[in-house]
Symmetry: C2
Subunit: 309 residues, 2 copies
């Protein structure tokens, strides 16, 4: 199978590249820039371009059997500042992409959605895929709209699509811009002896998934014939306070000093607790997360130490 | 209360004008063109302009206490032809409108959504507001996204909003362009002795609401302090075959001949049956539809006869 991987040079994309290659698949990456933390991977075909350029997009799709779409023009924390940009950059781009796929006969897509935002404030301790979709930030609203266009394309034009509603992926090659991913952001700050910031009282509970487990799920989704939405998390909730404690332990164990924690006011659009029920992905896709938090945090910290200079 | 009525010169808008005036409210209409079937209504302030013009929109909002938004750049039957236009014309326009409302302190809105499209294929004979939102056409997808932005504005910035998920409004002043509203469209064709077209086998079941009942619901919503989504239908299902039969009876009774019916292939995005549970609007808004189908059809036909030359 030849796969077009949109956003394949990003944090998650770089791991999906590895998993696709390991699964014996042929990989074409479409992204705006090359990977940040390693040179181009041998055997991978790279096409540098922009999804908003229709001609480039058509060209990139030629000869592929499936598409994995990981790109996003926004991140949850900042999409509210510019909802029009969020809609234009993500939703309209997706609608155009779906048209291009229909016209070129490409009928298989894995799309990365957001388990942390599409449901809004959960009504249950574990959130399954049938939970109402009541997003309260622009990022989640646009993800829901994209999921709905994918579903419409499935119903009307036979697109086989797997939507992965990912929780909080973490792991090696996470950047340090500080706009997404508490684990990467905090570890990068600690590696530079900068104080760590917590938004709110630390009680916010999230579900952290190692990025290689997410990448493996992409491969499982490509090999399957199902269509629909799948939660992609660890199934376990960890509070911000606890994750920071565990990061500090990992840091201290490596002989580094853990900097102080600074508490900042909570953000109105932060949902208090999201832990994903991953039963459907286990059942339908034969997938299970394999990398425990301890192992994952240690690996991530070691990678950051190896890159910090 | 002074109300800005966006789309107040359209079919539904013209009736909302009447109901607002009858309720003693002050009305400013914002629309692109004047009403089609009657001269400007005395006592109403008309502002002709376009919602995409931000300066005009800000100006139109000055001094009003509430906004009723009925305008749509698309109709269900054609939005799929141009989803990008649907998104730009409706969703982005709404996001900009919400920003303008926030900046001017206008915190009350009634918005016309679509009970026929936001739910997708219903899982229950009567659809209530908690039914999953799984739209399968662009019109419904964009309506859901707009509802979500309204909900977000409520949660983050205290907008008091009532979303009316209307079924199929019909009644006097319905146009005859043939893209929406089977009752108006069929009656106009019959009045001109043109054959009537049915998409599919006629088994599609819909919920028809007299437009004056819908207009009364807008007034009830403005007078209420609730926020949320409300179905706005009759609560009764009628098949296309039955509605066409009943229209033909009304036509024949008036001494006219009812033209033949032509069956055309069904449309993939037509949901087979949507009948709205209107218990929530009855309970929270003290509203109930008052005009029966027989009375409404007769009134509509008489109005069309009075206008057909």
């Amino acid at each position: 199978m030849k796969v077009l991987l949109i956003g394949g040079c990003g944090f998650i994309g770089s791991h999906v590249v590895d998993s696709l290659l390991a699964a014996g698949m042929s990989v074409r990456v479409f992204d705006r820039v090359q990977e940040r933390f390693r040179p181009p991977v041998p055997g991978v075909e790279y096409v540098l371009g922009d999804l908003t350029d229709i001609a480039q997009t058509y060209e990139a799709m030629s000869g592929v059997d499936a598409l994995v779409h990981l790109a996003s023009a926004t991140v949850p924390a900042t999409a509210n500042h510019d909802p029009v940009g969020d809609i234009s950059g993500n939703l309209i781009t997706m609608v155009r992409l779906l048209k291009a796929m229909r016209e070129t006969g490409l009928r298989r897509m894995v799309y990365l959605s957001s388990g942390g935002t599409v449901y809004g404030p959960p009504e249950t301790p574990l959130v399954n895929e049938d939970h109402p979709l009541r997003p309260i930030n622009s990022y989640g609203i646009v993800k829901v709209a994209i999921e709905n266009y994918l579903h419409m394309e499935h119903v009307l034009h036979g697109l086989q699509h797997v939507v992965l509603r990912a929780s909080n992926p973490y792991g090696p090659r996470h950047g340090h811009t500080g706009v997404q991913g508490i684990i990467g952001t905090h570890m990068w700050r600690m590696a530079r002896s900068e104080p760590v910031e917590i938004w709110g009282d630390g009680s916010v509970v999230r579900d952290y998934l190692h990025v290689r487990d997410l990448a493996e799920l992409c491969v499982s989704a490509l090999r399957s014939d199902v269509s629909g939405c799948y939660n992609a998390g660890s199934g376990t909730g960890v509070s911000v306070t606890e994750i920071v404690d565990r990061i500090r332990q990992v840091v201290k164990r490596s002989g580094y000093e853990a900097p102080p924690v600074i508490h900042k006011p909570g953000r109105g659009f932060d949902v208090p607790r999201v832990v994903l029920d991953i039963g459907r992905a286990r059942r339908d896709l034969g997938w299970t997360p394999r990398i425990g938090l301890e192992e994952g945090l240690t690996e991530t910290w070691e990678w950051i130490l190896s890159r910090k200079d």
